[in-house]
């Protein structure tokens, strides 16, 4: 396997400009002859489909929801970063680049990150022109806020629903192309396999989720924008349908999977409350701007929070991290919540929660000001928990939120399978070992609006591809494989439900591969995952047939893939015997218990090659070089 990152030469600030000039172009008149498949209609997929359609390519867009507008991107609350420096507070492309490389704990590629920072400014322009109703000031200009501990105000937002507004922008841009005939939409379709002919990605096989039909679609290039795999933990802030299937199927056909263990745990989520729980709800990070995090000083203090005097409260983030306080990065805030709970000072019915208290802000700013800022979040909290956060502190606990790992891509966003490009959360590229708040939306839209429209043209212009049709024997073979796997799932008729297996896997992953990881725990996970998987294939119960609307069958296929993928996840976490970003190895910490990176041994991207189910993946390394942002240990003290 050859990991050529194809990073252009030249100074960091000129690489992308130079590369844009060096790349070959497809003549506008020829573009409609090329078919491009885009799997996924979240920010990354919808923006790519819209842009490629506008350029004249013949695009087919797929999603599993009933409408492209419902992709998981819709759930993003907080905002989107861009280096506009509208706040005149010292931001710049270089600073956004710098913050992202450092925030990612030096495990991302500098060149990609710089490009991301460069195009961030165009994203905001594009979205505004589409009519995205970003928050504005009285003078009619855009409002910005500081987000997730950033020391500049570079975050653009639309109430608490930035993701929905950006997605509606990208979706409507795509629907305009559907009207024009340049994009064809396939909703309620699940991608089951990529089809590779003569070494190139030439199409996909899908299942129609309403009729069960197995369908083949040809293309000259395939773009995966299928989102993250946080649901390998069962409980996460992701939508229920978020899955690893598309990425994993591509991995099994030869696409390297990079840094699978790099997952982000978000510190402010509503805690787990019962075993029926189906998902975890994020409370926006912005709450940490005005809320103070604390737990009782003494173990097992079960008084109501109002009754615990100030002197008996431990505002542990403020005490430990004097300069950042409650605004330390996500990984640090999360890990510290775990530490105090493991110490027996957690609150709530399970002891796995900490307080996020707005009392001081309410006293200082008034209830109305807090209501204006967070009213919808407070309402949501009350709807879910039945408690009023104006009167009593919120309870929060960390939850799985985002996956920095993903399919390996080069600078052109192409995977190790020629023609297969990967965009958005599904790739590994820009966030290293930890993602900064408000940067995922930016990356998805950067990939789709401003990167892949250039790099895909270069691929198509420089690659000679024969015409293929769905009658090609490879399509027939893959369709057969898909059918036989479905039949196998349907024939087991065992004693346990799909969710039951998924829950079991999730608990194991959270316990052994969650906020804190150790060699012994990871080895235990590696021993148990195959056992769960074996039992799944012997004892899962999927009722009904293929030729119908069958949600249990949909879930079963996804969980089967999670059960294979989880092993690679644990393997990656075990091999990386250093702590970096969201990956905390107990063996690698400073005397004060902070994460300790090991640059002499692990300053690389771990890209895994598939080697058979149940067999260890083959490790390939892409060494990372830091020419601009110099390697330092992060410190937020």
């Amino acid at each position: 396997m050859n990991l050529d990152s194809k990073i252009p030469s030249g100074p960091i600030g000129e690489k992308w400009t130079k590369h844009k000039f060096d790349m070959k172009l497809v003549n506008p008149a020829n573009r409609r002859k090329f078919e491009v498949i885009v799997v996924g209609t979240g920010l990354a997929g919808a923006s790519a489909a819209a842009s490629l359609g506008e350029m004249g390519y013949n695009v087919k867009a797929f999603c599993f929801q009933d409408s492209p507008r419902r992709a998981h991107s819709i759930a993003a609350q907080g905002g989107i970063n861009a280096a506009k420096n509208y706040a005149n507070d010292g931001d710049s492309i270089y600073r956004l680049f710098y913050d992202t490389v450092k925030g990612g704990d030096f495990r991302a590629r500098e060149a990609n990150v710089h490009r991301l920072a460069e195009v961030s400014v165009n994203i905001i322009d594009q979205c505004v022109a589409q009519g995205v109703p970003f928050a504005r000031e009285y003078g009619g200009l855009l409002d910005n806020r500081s987000f997730g501990g950033a020391q500049v105000s570079r975050t653009f937002y639309a109430k608490g629903q930035t993701g929905q507004q950006l997605l509606l922008g990208a979706y409507s841009a795509m629907m305009k192309e559907v009207a024009k005939g340049s994009v064809t939409l396939f909703t309620r379709r699940e991608m089951m396999e990529v089809v590779i002919i003569d070494g190139h990605a030439r199409g996909i096989v899908t299942r129609n989720l309403v009729t069960g039909e197995i369908e083949s679609h040809t293309a000259d290039a395939v773009l995966l924008a299928t989102g993250g795999y946080g649901n390998v933990f069962y409980l996460s802030t992701n939508a229920k349908g978020s899955n690893v299937t598309a990425a994993w199927r591509a991995h099994k056909k030869g696409a390297a999977f990079a840094n699978p263990c790099f997952t982000q745990i978000h510190p402010t989520c509503i805690p787990v409350h019962g075993d029926y729980q189906s998902k975890l709800t994020l409370m926006s990070e912005s709450l940490r701007n005005d809320g103070r995090v604390w737990v009782p000083r003494t173990n097992g203090d079960s008084r109501r929070p109002e009754l615990i005097p100030e002197s008996e409260r431990d505002y542990y983030l403020e005490n430990k991290y004097a300069s950042f306080g409650n605004l330390v990065p996500r990984d640090i805030a999360s890990r510290n919540a775990k530490i105090v709970c493991d110490d027996g000072r957690g609150v709530g019915s399970t002891g796995l929660a900490v307080y996020l208290d707005f009392k001081d802000s309410i006293n200082r700013l008034g209830k109305q000001a807090i209501e204006e800022r967070y009213g919808n979040l407070f309402e949501m909290y009350e709807r879910i928990t039945g408690e009023d956060p104006y009167a009593t502190p919120m309870q929060i606990y960390p939850a799985i939120h985002y996956t920095m790992g993903g399919l390996w891509v080069d600078y052109n966003l192409m995977s190790t399978i020629p023609g297969l490009h990967v965009l958005g959360e599904a790739n590994f590229s820009d966030h290293g070992a930890n993602r900064l708040g408000a940067s995922a939306l930016m990356q998805g839209l950067a990939d789709g609006y401003f990167v892949v429209p250039y790099t895909l043209g270069h691929y198509l212009a420089t690659t000679k591809l024969e015409k293929v049709s769905t009658d090609h024997p490879e399509f027939k073979k893959v369709e057969g494989d898909v059918r036989s796997r479905i039949n196998q799932l349907l024939s087991i008729k065992g004693g346990r439900t799909v969710d039951d297996f998924h829950r079991q896997l999730g608990l194991l992953m959270w316990d052994k591969c969650g906020m804190s990881r150790s060699e012994a725990g990871l080895k235990e996970a590696l021993a148990k995952i195959p056992e769960i998987r074996d039992e799944f294939w012997k004892n899962v119960n999927v009722l009904g047939g293929n030729d119908e609307f069958n949600q249990a069958l949909e879930k079963a296929g996804r969980v089967a893939d999670f059960l294979e993928f989880a092993e690679l996840f644990a393997q990656d976490a075990l091999h990386r015997n250093e702590s970096c970003g969201g990956h905390f190895r107990e063996e690698s910490q400073t005397p004060e218990g902070e994460a300790l990176r090991d640059d002499s041994n692990y300053c690389y991207v771990a890209a895994w090659e598939f080697n058979g189910v149940g067999k260890a993946g083959i490790l390939h390394k892409e060494n990372l070089e830091f020419e601009n942002v110099h390697l330092t240990q992060r410190s937020y003290k």
Partner: protein, 251 residues
């Protein structure tokens, strides 16, 4: 504090769009009041599966009230009894021990049932496709600050843009009208300078498509506003009507 309650469910079961459906009754015992309505259905489905019975199909994805994928009529109300709350955000503490809950799909000619509680809402996509956008291509945009939008208009546009496309408005309307949905999109773009150049064609095309899909007319029942989980105001319908009239006059 959470408690455990026992419920009786009467659920609409329909194999697909071609067959007729009927209500089936299920006991849902020992439901924790802290769980959401969809989690209650999950629990029931787990039990049905173990008994070898086909689980109830229902659409959902985000489970946080924003994707617009969930929705059913619960005791006669789209998304159930709690105001400004999607079905996934409705929690079982809104019900009492011993309650009977009737659960059925959205019913409208334009939203055919696919299975049980899942319906086909692709008509909404086709309405957006007919004109619910600003025709700007990637790369053409001027600097974001070249376009000024007064806060008042920006906020009003944002209020309209909150629509999640769940179709509860259609389900709650005696005429199965989609006017709240369509007017929310029209208002969002009509209130912003970016939407101005295509303002007249947009309203005409979208209204024409809405009619073509078979949605009914508005007779000012205001049921849609009451059912809307995002609190979209019926004043948007008035705005749409004004936009439509003025566009027709100019024609």
């Amino acid at each position: 504090m959470s408690k455990s309650i026992n419920l009786t469910l009467k659920v609409w079961r329909q194999k697909n769009s071609k067959t007729k459906g009927q209500f089936e009754t299920y006991a849902a015992n020992g439901i924790d009041t802290d769980c959401s309505f969809l989690e209650m259905l999950d629990v029931v489905n787990e039990r049905l599966t173990v008994e070898g019975k086909d689980p109830i199909a229902f659409d959902h994805d985000c489970r946080e009230g924003i994707c617009g994928m969930c929705g059913a009529v619960v005791n006669g109300q789209a998304h159930g009894p709690q105001r400004k709350t999607t079905l996934c955000q409705l929690h079982m503490r809104q019900f009492s021990d011993g309650d009977t809950i009737v659960i059925e799909p959205y019913r409208s000619r334009a939203l055919p049932v696919l299975k049980d509680l899942a319906v086909d809402r692709s008509a909404f996509d086709r309405i957006i496709q007919s004109g619910g956008y600003v025709s700007v291509k990637t790369g053409q945009a001027p600097d974001a600050h070249a376009i000024l939008v007064g806060k008042e208009y920006a906020d009003l546009a944002m209020d309209a843009a909150q629509c999640i496309g769940c179709a509860a408005c259609v389900a709650s309307c005696p005429n199965a009208s989609a006017m709240l949905f369509v007017s929310a999109k029209i208002s969002h773009l009509a209130l912003l300078p970016q939407g101005n150049p295509e303002r007249e064609t947009r309203v005409q095309e979208m209204v024409a498509q809405m009619d073509k899909e078979g949605f009914g007319n508005c007779s000012n029942e205001y049921e849609c506003e009451a059912a809307c989980p995002k609190g979209i105001s019926v004043s948007n319908i008035a705005r749409m009507n004004r936009e439509f009239l003025s566009a027709s006059r100019k024609k």
